[in-house]
């Protein structure tokens, strides 16, 4: 065939411009073929004209309509996936250490984050499982005590809520419950088989109108609660009492103040979830205890003045709470007499009860939203640190992968596709880490439950919200970790890369440095906070009174027990390991036990009325707790006048504005109020101060040490304290029980160790301290992983430089210095930034404590040195290996 004519160039260009890329090849081909045919048949000119017309036709029709199934010129989808995985896995296995570091860091941080998220979700969804929780409120109130101080009580008098329901149709349901006699005594089988129970709830039969009460056994909770002879047990409690036996129909006996009440187990309820602000073990109708409520001519349940029960109301949606409060105030005005002026109702949504603070007699340790914020931010920080590691290592290794990028680009792979590829790799990494995180999660779940006193099970993973969380985590972490490397790597210019003239600028280098500084800062703050929390905790452990907690056994006394105390002491002390026996109020003090405050006046000094706690112990009380005298003498049984004498603590003396020596001999007029047949009665007694003792903590360290009065008025004591002096504790206890049986045959012997109680007092701090320690450990681990990875990379990159330097005579130490100095610099910068942050945050937290462990400047220095040591150890190990390598090895392969 003769030389071919080509179609008109302009027309061809038009075609290429306007025709959609997908169709261009076939159309161009077809047109070319036709063009050639036409040349032969119709001549060149006509063929050209035709070509133009065809091109215009084609452009009109196709230029902007891609076909539905796009068929790229690249490899088919399946092959592209295969290719992607091959390359990704090759890259992972080639740099095993950094892959391991990334996987490890990501997995640990993801698992930690998951735990934290669970914790936060659980904390913020308190009491939401009750059916109409959003429209349920607790009635609490504020009051003014006799000495004019304001207080808030979480409970309410029984008649308030009932009357409210009568007055307001918007109030659909009302229910009340109380936890009288906390802790109570319950036995089953024989009176010797006694349990001390803290979760016995006495409820109205309307309990199920407001609260959800799913049963684990057959039966109807509502019916059971209507019958005052029956009790509902929680699953755990039922197992504790009856083992594998069927608990239904079994009997238990509740003992209080010498009265016994027998109950039949009517049903077994499911255990309340961990996110409930009250978790009953027993629920029974409060009518059952009527003989107790109604003694002394009073009715504690249905009273105007006795704030005795926790009262909850359920209202119609959209009810004006202002109006409810006003109605309550109206009820107060009509029924509380002069107290109405100082008593005001407070409605607390059921959802918020857990986070409510400042109320007396709360049912659980209130949650702290600050803790949640702190944990949440630590979770995010840990996650961020793991992402930083990924970014750091990925950009650091970019030189290695630059050739791959160059080659791909030369072969026509677009930047967008490269970005997809690198992002895909980070997603792959995150995906694998996610699987590992789930394994870690499963393994550490029980530890987590123990730490937080919650009871999650593995099923939470299957819940929708958890799955969403996992998905969000996956996407966020994948993008966060992958985006910078992806954009950075895909931005390489192929010519530079392949020629080998690529210069990675200062940009990514500085970026990496910034990230390292950030990590060290985070580590510093977490490490300091952990230390502070721990030292605060050990400070709490070593405060006065709790010093003796290990050996002090607390025993609950019956109603008339103090009378025979002397006899008991005598028998008990026959065992040489029993060092001291005393009686007193329930210690350590918790507001749940009721008020110890008495109003008193020291007329000799002023007319001021003080409202102080009075610890009514006996003559051995100060001995047992090792109270140190500052002035005067201790209460003594040998001196009959001492039974009405008192001791003060230093704080009280200070408040009186006098000195311990001058306080001796002062006379206190103590005013006691008591309610009798709805009337307030007043009784004044006089007591002489005979001694002053050093301040000691008889309650939480969170509260300032209050002024306190100690007397030997043992007739009102609730508790007996026995101080043990070593010995075989079970044996000594056995002895105490035997003595008890002789003296108080009718009263069960229930005891617990004081340290258990102290433990509960600081549960929140302890829990937080432990969680914090674990989180800090995780953070440090991840930071170390990152540093280690970077250091080994630097060492590897500089392998030739090190080789040359060694050949030129540099010593190992010099090279080590060269490799580690930059990290020391980075650490120094981090300290400058981190210490102020740590200082401020610690200061903020310590505000909540009145008694603080002291922190000097030296503490920060120690922490800095510690971190520096960690950094050097991590970086140095890898550097040392590089520095000691034989230069001929590193130089040879060129």
């Amino acid at each position: 065939m003769a030389m071919k004519h080509t179609p008109p160039a302009l027309a061809k260009r038009l075609l290429q411009w306007f025709c959609h890329a997908e169709f261009i090849e076939e159309i161009e081909g077809d047109l070319y073929e036709l063009f050639q045919q036409r040349i032969e048949k119709e001549g060149l000119f006509k063929a050209r004209l035709h070509y133009y017309r065809d091109v215009l036709d084609a452009t009109n029709l196709y230029r902007s309509q891609p076909r539905k199934k796009s068929q790229n010129q690249t490899l088919p989808l399946r092959d592209r996936w295969k290719h992607f995985f091959t390359i990704a896995i090759r890259n992972m296995t080639r740099s095993r250490s950094s892959t391991a570091i990334n996987l490890c860091g990501l997995a640990v941080s993801l698992a930690s984050f998951l735990f934290i998220a669970l914790y936060i979700v659980d904390e913020t969804t308190y009491d939401t499982f009750h059916p109409d929780a959003a429209n349920t409120y607790r009635i609490s109130y504020s009051f003014k005590s006799f000495d004019g101080r304001e207080g808030k009580d979480s409970r309410a008098a029984g008649l308030w809520s009932v009357t409210l329901k009568e007055m307001m149709p918007e109030v659909k349901h009302v229910t009340r419950f109380s936890r009288f006699g906390w802790p109570g005594n319950v036995w089953t089988g024989s009176p010797d088989n006694v349990f001390v129970e803290q979760g016995f709830f006495w409820v109205d039969s309307t309990f199920t109108d407001i609260f959800s009460l799913p049963l684990a056994s057959i039966g109807n909770a509502r019916e059971v609660l209507r019958n005052p002879q029956e009790v509902i047990l929680s699953e755990t409690t039922a197992r504790r009492y009856f083992g594998d036996k069927d608990p239904i129909g079994q009997s238990i006996t509740y003992v209080r103040d010498g009265m016994s009440f027998a109950f039949t187990v009517g049903a077994v309820m499911k255990d309340f979830p961990s996110n409930a602000h009250f978790k009953p073990d027993f629920i029974a109708n409060c009518v059952a205890l009527n003989p107790l409520w109604k003694r002394n001519d009073e009715d504690r349940i249905n009273s105007w003045m006795d704030s005795f029960s926790y009262s909850f109301i359920n209202v119609e949606p959209g009810t004006d709470l202002e109006k409810v409060s006003k109605t309550l105030q109206q009820i107060f005005d009509q029924n509380l007499g002069e107290f109405a002026k100082t008593t005001h109702p407070i409605l607390i949504p059921l959802h918020d009860v857990h986070f409510t603070t400042g109320f007396l007699f709360e049912l659980d340790a209130p949650g702290d939203k600050t803790h949640l914020y702190i944990f949440g931010s630590i979770g995010l920080l840990i996650l961020a640190m793991a992402c930083i590691n990924y970014m750091n290592l990925a950009t650091a290794r970019s030189i290695r992968r630059s050739k791959e990028v160059g080659l791909r680009k030369t072969l026509g792979v677009s930047k967008a596709m490269l970005i997809t590829q690198f992002l895909g790799e980070s997603f792959l990494m995150t995906g694998i880490a996610m699987v590992l995180a789930m394994i870690l999660f499963a393994v550490f779940l029980s530890t987590f439950n123990m730490l937080t006193l919650k009871n999650f099970d593995l099923l939470v993973v299957g819940q929708n919200k958890t799955l969403y969380l996992l998905l969000v985590l996956f996407v966020t972490v994948g993008i966060l970790a992958g985006s910078y490397p992806a954009f950075y790597l895909s931005g390489f210019r192929p010519v530079e890369v392949l020629k080998g003239t690529l210069v990675t600028g200062r940009g990514p280098e500085n970026f990496r440095k910034g990230l390292v500084i950030l990590q060290i800062c985070i580590t510093l703050v977490l490490l300091t906070s952990t230390y502070v929390i721990q030292s605060q905790l050990s400070f709490i452990d070593h405060t006065r009174l709790s010093e003796h907690k290990d050996e002090v056994v607390t025993v609950r006394l019956g109603q008339n027990a103090p009378d025979k105390m002397a006899a008991y002491k005598q028998i008990a002390k026959q065992d040489p390991h029993v060092k001291e026996v005393s009686t007193g109020p329930h210690l350590p003090r918790r507001e749940t036990f009721g008020n110890l405050q008495h109003s008193m006046k020291f007329s000799a000094l002023s007319q001021t009325i003080y409202s102080w706690d009075q610890l009514d112990g006996d003559f051995d009380f100060s001995n047992l707790f090792g109270l140190e005298l500052v002035a005067g003498r201790s209460l003594s049984a040998d001196n009959p006048a001492d039974s009405s004498a008192i001791l003060l603590n230093e704080k009280a003396v200070k408040e009186l504005g006098t000195t311990p020596e001058k306080a001796l001999g002062l006379e206190a007029e103590v005013v006691t109020f008591f309610e009798k047949q709805g009337q307030m009665e007043r009784l004044v007694t006089r007591h002489k101060v005979i001694g002053v003792v050093k301040d000691f903590n008889f309650a939480s360290v969170r509260l300032p040490i209050a002024p306190v009065v100690i007397s030997a008025k043992s007739t009102v004591s609730e508790m007996m304290y026995v101080k043990l002096d070593g010995g075989n504790i079970p044996e000594v206890i056995q002895h105490l029980v035997k003595a008890w049986k002789q003296v108080y045959p009718a009263t069960p012997f229930q005891y617990w160790f004081m340290d258990e109680e102290f433990g509960r007092l600081y549960q929140t701090e302890r829990q937080m301290g432990q969680i914090f320690t674990y989180l800090a450990a995780v953070a440090i681990l991840i930071a170390c992983l990152g540093l280690f990875g970077l250091a080994s990379f630097t060492a590897e990159q500089k392998v030739k430089e090190i080789g040359i330097r060694k050949v030129m005579g540099a010593s190992t130490a010099q090279i080590l210095l060269l490799l580690t100095s930059r990290y020391i610099k980075l650490a120094a910068i981090s300290f400058l930034i981190g210490i102020p942050i740590a200082f401020i945050s610690i200061h903020f937290w310590m505000e909540t404590f009145v008694y603080k462990a002291t922190l000097g400047l030296g503490f920060y220095i120690v922490i800095c040195i510690l971190i520096l040591a960690i950094v050097l150890a991590t970086v140095g190990l890898e550097s040392l290996r590089a520095a000691r390598a034989n230069p001929s090895d590193s130089m040879r392969h060129e």
């Binding site: 090849e25 159309i27 077809d30 073929e33 065809d54 036709d57 084609a58």
Partner: protein, 110 residues
């Protein structure tokens, strides 16, 4: 159904693809139609019809070899799909059915 309606020209294109079997691509299809109908057919119209038919699922396509006569470009070879054959059958059936109902007188007049 609007989407599956087969236009007259589309029907002819489908038939041409069927006749050509393995060798059906833009130019050959156009040639076939010209030969069979004597009409002058625009290549652009053929392309439009082909791609629309492919969208409807009556045709499938793949690239053939690059050829010199085509300036080194590949052909897109079209083949009838099962749905395409079914559509053709339906079109034929409708015609047959309607033809059979046409009054004989009418036919005899001319």
């Amino acid at each position: 159904m609007k989407g599956t309606y087969l236009g007259e020209f589309e029907e002819i294109v489908l038939l041409a693809v069927g006749i050509l079997r393995d060798g059906a691509y833009g130019v050959s299809i156009r040639q076939e139609i010209e030969d069979q109908t004597g009409r002058n057919v625009n290549i652009g119209a053929v392309h439009t019809a082909l791609h629309r038919l492919e969208d409807k699922g009556y045709l499938s396509s793949q690239f053939g070899e690059a050829e010199e006569v085509r300036g080194g470009k590949r052909k897109r070879l079209f083949t009838l799909t099962a749905a395409g054959i079914k559509a053709l059958r339906e079109a034929q059936a409708i015609r047959k059915q309607m033809w059979s109902q046409l009054p004989k007188i009418l036919l005899q007049q001319n």
